[in-house]
């Protein structure tokens, strides 16, 4: 399987190297992508829960903000 490409720019020589990730880099990359996906899911679930609660209360987000202000 082809791993993602990483770029390294040596600014002393202006040399640019594009290479595949090493195994360790790929492992860290996959863990990071999982964490990003998990955070996105959590944010989506939170937004849905918020919408559901507002609907249950019968108020808008602006009205809820007024109550909390």
């Amino acid at each position: 399987m082809t791993k993602p490409i990483v770029r390294i720019h040596n600014i002393e020589t202006n040399e640019v190297i594009d290479r595949e990730m090493t195994d360790a880099e790929f492992e860290a990359y996959e863990a990071d992508q999982l964490a990003v996906a998990k955070a996105a899911e959590e944010a989506k679930a939170k937004a849905q829960a918020k919408s559901a609660l507002l609907a249950k209360l019968g108020i808008t987000a602006e009205e809820a903000a007024l109550l909390l202000g």
Binding site: I5, V6, I8, H9, I11, D18, E25, V36
Partner: protein, 233 residues
Amino acid sequence: MGAPLGFKTFATGDILTAGDANGYLMQGVWVFASAAARTSAVTSPQEGNMSFLKDTNSVEYYDGAAWVAVGGSGGLTLLSTTTLSGATVTIPSIVQTYKSLRMVIYGVTNATANGVMRIAPNGNTTGSSYVSTDSVGASFVSSVNRVTYLNLGTTAWSRTATNNVATVQIDNYTSSTNYKPMNAYGFAEETGGSVMSFNIGGAFVSNTAVTSLVFSNAGGNLSTGTVLLYGVN
């Protein structure tokens, strides 16, 4: 190389000696490819010598002990222009001769998915390495966040919109004893055409000098984008 002799107005009939040539005529602004080339060519610089370095476009004078930039020690020096591409982009071996680093990042898109643009000094993503308070749009987020990257904003940048720009500064970056203050401000299009402005202040919570910068986008592979890296004195 002869020592500078000052200024002389030659009169008709004067004899131009080797000493005159070396002391008067050779005292212009010498042009070299780099500081290394200058060191090789000028083995005994004299106070008052001037040079221009093509790699950094800098004019410097010799103060008797060292080559010093004309115009004082302050100012910005463009260190590099880097094109973003791939899952990560690393700028290694950053010189340690400035007070601060400043970056201007713009035109970022990525091939995979929407995601926030982010930076990891020294590639450090070992959790809670960055503290920040954020001002996004009109709302100020007063809580302090401890996160694994310096995130440029709080929500995903549109992966296809090129209308984004961020300025990031890291102060005291050479310190091996103190944390590094950081701030970032900018603008990005989000998904669905909405836009986000951000203003983030915080610190890189590390006692290690910043010698490299790693750029990535939480959405995946970078397609386009430019990073201008400046050294600040």
